[in-house]
Amino acid sequence: MAAESVIEVKDLVRVYKSSAGLLGKKKKETLAIDHISFSVGRGELFGLLGPNGAGKTTTIKVLTTLLLPTSGEAKVLGYDVSKQSLEVRKRIGLILGGERGLYYRITGRQNLRYFADLYGVPMSIRDKRIKEVLEQVGLEDRADERVEDYSRGMKQRLHIAKGLVHDPELIFMDEPTIGLDPQAARDTRNMIRDLKAKGKTILLTTHYMFEADELCDRVGVIAKGRIVALDTPRGLKSLIKDTSVIEVEAFGITDVELEAMRALPGVKAVSAVMSEEKQIMRLQVSDPGEMLAKVAGSLPGLNIIGVKVKEPTLEDAYLWLVEGHA
């Protein structure tokens, strides 16, 4: 990577300790991040992909100084996240998704004014800057309403405005589109693109493969606290270039059929989109010609709407990786 590194992570480990039982005698340790290493270049849009509990949010919290690492080293913009936390915090923006994290009883503008003050935005430009970010996220018309009256999408946009109000050079986004309707999610992705076009460095976590595929320059796939692959979306897809995907669209697919497919010799990974109306099952196979007949034969009595053979997507590569093939 030619660009200057703005995030450098070496052998980072984070263990959560908890206790339970009478007098907290039952001690438990959970390894959330297990010796991960990566770097992010200036101006890059870097994605962290992984299932729930994989360690994505923990990684972001360590890098944004909210958590101390158990061991290893992490530097953000040249500053050590453990020892120089205030220097890191001045220069980064943190955008956490979800319903919480905002003051509901005051207006959006008042929320932004408070955080602008905490981040030391010069008073001479504070209100102008707030106006700019409100315009950027499309909230200028509702800025003087209480946040409790905002929709979920508007709250998310305010989260983004809050993370940008001090014009940080490096932005961390934790699942910025989670829970948004398709339109709001698309608007958020467009905002992220705009930020990258302005030269910002962005590290985002997401569950959505198409989002990572569409937005990210590079993607780190994280599973059980370890980075199992790190490459461009195209590079990751090429990991399964010898693989094709059989997509079966049908009525009545249940967990029984999914397990049957997983047990079928020649099937590398199985995923499914289950809705009440119909189900779509995706099977990763090496030889689709040979496997088509076997798959059809293993699904007796199922009302099949259609079967297609497709090129693998980033989601297929991701599934292949997190199922332990890396």
Binding site: L66, L102, Y103, D117, Y119
Partner: protein, 262 residues
Amino acid sequence: MPRLRATYASFKHQALIFFAEPQWLIPNIIAPFVLTLVALLLFKDADGPVVLYAVLGGGMMGMWGNTLYSSGFSIQSERWWGTLESVFAAPCNLIWIIAGRALWNSLIGVVNGLLVFVFAELMFQAPVHLQDAGLFVLAFTLTLLSLACLGLVFSSAFVLTRSASVLTNGLEYPIYVGTGSMFPIALLPYWTGPLSLSLGPTWGIDAVRYAALGSTPYSFTQGYWGDLAFMGMLSLVYLAIAVVLFRQVDLVARRDANLGRF
């Protein structure tokens, strides 16, 4: 300057939240009023100084109740809202942010204390004539700052615990009694002396009473300025303790990852 700005911004922010959340009136205004009302009813037939003693005590209880409730509940609310993590992530040590809030909470306490005076005058025709109004205002203001310092010490515990309201409830009455707000600490068992005297507001309340009543049989012997000196020293000690505790808070919060939990 950025630190003072964070303190000032937090002071203003706490005011906004206070006015936007009407239910805060209950612990901040109504509850101390009820306490004072009880004290006034108890002493309404007594001679002047005793009534004034009760009124001052009521005002002081109001100030302490405000400091404690507001500090505890503001942090508990931050946990519920999920904003404690965002505030913690700001490039400013938490103590400067909490200090702004503690100052607002104490200011509301002063307003509460003054309201108690007006209430006593209007409803009970209590003889609230002050011996030296200037010294009274000075002692009142410095006691407010001392309360804010004490509130800051407790706030560090509120940040770390998920049950700030339990701590708040537990600390309310011991301080009312221990500082001599309710009745003179000379009436308490001798072993409570060191505890009472280690609380800055105990000295502040004595100074307030000196300014209002002159010397009484229960006054401390070092007089008005001696009271203020002791309170000042204790307040500086509170500040030093708060600085150390907030450093610890920073470390423990980042180690245990408990700021986002509620």
